[in-house]
């Protein structure tokens, strides 16, 4: 049964319901209460925040690891200028936005439709649900390389083969990966992430009170009216949650680009960072790109945090 978590308890609440002596004891020992938090906090700061500070510093340096490169020096904003004026990097930024919007948008719509289907009782619902989850349980790089080599590959890929067997002329030469590399990646990502969003939405639908729906039906609401006025408002927060979580993962996608096109006309920012530092060994520019992704992510994260906290607060009323 789907329900939403227990309310987030505010600090004052338990204190008010607690006997005064106990409260005093807790106050005295407040450092003891915080102590269990520290290992996790310190570990996270060291492993995730320090490297980012280093990236920030490096983004202002001329630093290349190429054998003939000049000495390291202060670069000012040159690396950022390079990021925004080099067409390849600008394209990477636009590709990231395009792929994220398309994948998250299409996945969310498909997921909502499928979740509504699976919210009905029918023969084999459990089996269909299991089949739907499966794409999300394939290791992402494994899924990407098989989509690239087994399904969309020119000639021996499944799609060309089936189109050929259906009598489509010239099917053997259809080259999805080189003609439509971004679309190919988007299709693979939609296939992998729709199940994820669908699971969250289905949990949301199943937390809806069936008596409310029954009452609406008795009062003469038709299916569409019930959906628009009852189901959609209820499911809205789950939809927002699945969209922000999906966005966080899709923006960071590296495996699909590497596994399917190797960046051919489909480089996104994570892949551009990887190429710039791993192949081109330009540490300064790679760091500047990293800083740009972080700023973009902070904007998304602001929305994400608001949605997550409102979901928790809403349900705690």
């Amino acid at each position: 049964m789907a329900t939403v978590t227990a309310p987030l308890r505010e600090t004052t609440e338990p204190a008010a319901s607690r006997p005064p002596e106990a409260y005093k004891k807790w106050g005295r020992e407040s450092w003891k209460l915080r102590a269990p938090l520290l290992p996790a906090l310190v570990f996270l700061i060291v492993v995730t925040q320090l490297p980012f500070v280093a990236t920030l510093v490096m983004s202002f340096m001329n630093w290349s690891a190429q054998p003939d490169a000049p000495e390291r020096s202060f670069a000012g904003l040159d690396n950022f200028k390079t990021v925004f004026t080099t067409p390849a990097y600008r394209t990477a930024v636009l590709n990231t936005i395009e792929m994220t919007v398309v994948v998250v948008g299409v996945s969310a719509l498909l997921a909502l439709g499928i979740a509504l289907l699976l919210n009905h009782a029918f023969i084999g619902r459990g089996v269909v649900r299991t089949m739907m989850i499966a794409p999300f349980l394939i290791v992402p790089i494994a899924a990407a390389v098989f989509w690239g080599n087994g399904i969309l590959m020119t000639g021996f890929g499944l799609v060309d083969g089936v189109l050929g067997q259906l009598g489509v002329p010239g099917a053997q030469d259809i080259a999805f990966l080189t003609d439509h590399p971004k679309l190919a990646i988007e299709i693979q990502l939609i296939w992998q992430w729709t199940p994820f969003m669908m699971l969250i939405l289905l949990a949301g639908l199943q937390s809806q009170d069936p008596e409310v729906l029954e009452a609406a039906s008795i009062d003469g609401c038709n299916g569409w009216q019930t959906f628009v006025h009852m189901t959609l408002p209820h499911v809205r927060r789950y939809l927002e949650l699945s969209i922000v979580l999906g966005t966080i993962f899709i923006v960071q996608n590296f495996d699909s680009v590497l596994g399917m096109t190797g960046g051919l006309n489909s480089t996104n920012i994570p892949y551009a960072v990887y190429e710039t530092f791993y192949s081109a060994k330009d540490y300064g520019v790679a760091s500047a790109l990293g800083v740009v992704v972080v700023i973009g992510s902070l904007i998304i994260a602001t929305f994400a945090l608001r949605v997550v906290s409102s979901l928790l607060e809403e349900e705690s009323r």
């Binding site: 308890r9 338990p14 269990p36 938090l37 029918f122 349980l137 390389v145 021996f156 596994g259």
Partner: protein, 278 residues
């Protein structure tokens, strides 16, 4: 259309549509498994050789070839399992402090944890690469991956565990505390039994994410510490018929995740939504 008719249509249309969608989503996986069971020369033909004889030679080849998959699988198991245990060791005390005994400013701490998860992994990868290869000179080492996967999963684990631990009624703990029960006793006798399903869900999610990770593994390992996902990518050897073996490798490394995910479908939803959806 009257209601009676509408309901009859829905009874027929909904199952058909649902089954169709399910089949469409599962076809790529079925085709991957079928390809992995075909001989290499049958696996990459135009059009596909649907009825070609089935064989397990690609799977046995993965283990017996000159460059076997075994070390990569062992590395994957080591990094995923140990990082998951480390995550639990760090996340459970933190979540306990946040859920059962809310410390001041606890929501700030929660959002700090979550915000580190939203920091893209590529943002810190270059300093980490330089640090491991040039400062501590430990390239190609699973220890580095274990620490990174622990940090990667810690925010999710704290969020999930907090939501599970928040279900422990505070009154019980206070009563036990007033009766003189020690913190250890409270933890082992009251909190642990109630939160065990949460620990299971959290472990499952952390294991899956660590097992799936490829970017850090690719950049920070070469031979000795190579993990399964990095190995699969090396199976693309276009000078000979490679697709069958690639399909076998992709299927094999996905098996643990498929089994874990199917075995705990409901926990998967809880985990993916950071414990917000039960």
């Amino acid at each position: 259309m009257n209601t009676w008719n509408r309901q009859r249509v829905a009874k027929i249309v909904i199952p058909i549509a649902a089954w169709l969608v399910g089949i469409i989503f599962v076809i790529p996986i079925l085709y991957m498994v079928l390809t992995s069971l075909h001989a290499p020369q049958d696996a990459q033909t135009y059009p596909p050789s649907w009825g070609a004889p089935l064989t397990l030679e690609n799977y046995s080849g993965l283990f017996t070839s000159a460059n076997p998959i075994t070390p990569a699988l062992i590395n994957s198991v080591i990094t995923s399992v140990i990082s998951t245990l480390l995550v639990l060791a760090l996340a459970i005390p933190a979540a306990y402090a946040l859920a059962i005994k809310p410390v001041k400013k606890w929501s700030d701490a929660m959002f700090f944890f979550l915000s580190t998860k939203m920091l893209p992994m590529v943002a810190g990868i270059l300093p980490i690469y330089l640090f491991t290869t040039q400062v501590i000179k430990m390239p190609d080492n699973v220890i580095i991956l274990i620490l990174l996967y622990t940090a990667m999963n810690l925010p999710i684990a704290v969020w999930m565990m907090r939501s599970f631990l928040a279900e422990v009624p505070p009154a019980i703990i206070e009563a036990a505390s007033i009766d003189g029960a020690s913190t250890l006793r409270i933890l082992t006798r009251i909190v642990a039994p109630i939160s065990m399903p949460g620990v299971a869900a959290t472990s499952l999610i952390c294991f899956i994410f660590a097992w799936n990770e490829q970017l850090y593994a690719k950049v920070l390992t070469s031979v000795a510490a190579q993990t399964g996902p990095v190995f699969v990518n090396t199976l693309i050897q276009t000078e000979h018929a490679y697709l069958a073996e690639l399909a076998a490798g992709a299927t094999l490394i996905s098996l643990p995740v498929l089994i874990a995910g199917f075995a705990a479908q409901d926990k998967l939803v809880q985990g993916l939504s950071l414990g917000a959806v039960k």
